[in-house]
Symmetry: C2
Subunit: 116 residues, 2 copies
Amino acid sequence: MQNKNTSQAALKLWKQALCELVGRQGPDLSSRQMAIMLTVYLEQPPHTVRGLAAQLQISKPAVTRALDTLSKMELLKRKPDEADRRSINVIRTVKGSVYLSEIADIIEQAAWKNLT
Amino acid sequence: MQNKNTSQAALKLWKQALCELVGRQGPDLSSRQMAIMLTVYLEQPPHTVRGLAAQLQISKPAVTRALDTLSKMELLKRKPDEADRRSINVIRTVKGSVYLSEIADIIEQAAWKNLT
DNA sequence: TTGCCTTATTTCGCAACCGTAACGGTGATG
DNA sequence: CATCACCGTTACGGTTGCGAAATAAGGCAA
């Protein structure tokens, strides 16, 4: 077990960011949906359904459903792969980029509060 | 908008911790449930249904349902208030403490990865 | 005691999500 | 061509969550 104060600070950071997210209006994403968003926007493309399912250790239908929801919100988009037409690529949108930058701000603010 | 590298680091921290949580078996808590857990364990007691609802800006029945789920998992417990028997206090459990310390470890490890 | 306020819970109808399994379309191999 | 493997989606049955409204029970004051 690690230093207690460090653990406490880590949890407080998480709590403040999370509470802000819970309390705000707008898209209320589940953990899985958020994890998919972050993977698509932070990792190198291409992102396929199968790849996302493997990386997050969830089932493929779960990924499909999450993509349905997220693309309805215009936070990301499906783009059929021209080379292998069985596959689709999941790509970013402007709206998604804006959304994630807001999340980043919230986390940064929470971090600032916990370091001072 | 703040420094781009800082934002990116904040999101990567969030992503790594979240992906670890999503990928693990065991309790799969929603954002609200997690927010309640963190509030109960990090803020000063007492914690009532009304108080939690106000603090997280969600409805009282939503809190009641979250407490049902969380107490079934033994991550926290209801304890009727002796003084005012309309109220209940939400209190901690050993299992909940252990669970949160695991979360803390995950966040710390993610933070370590992003600082090196 | 009566009436009213507060607290938490339950009920209702509805929507979202889950995993398993089956399905249709595409590529690859003979 | 025929077959087989692969990819994403859909169908299905079940679980869980939601908000609004109604309910149950305790406190409080006239």
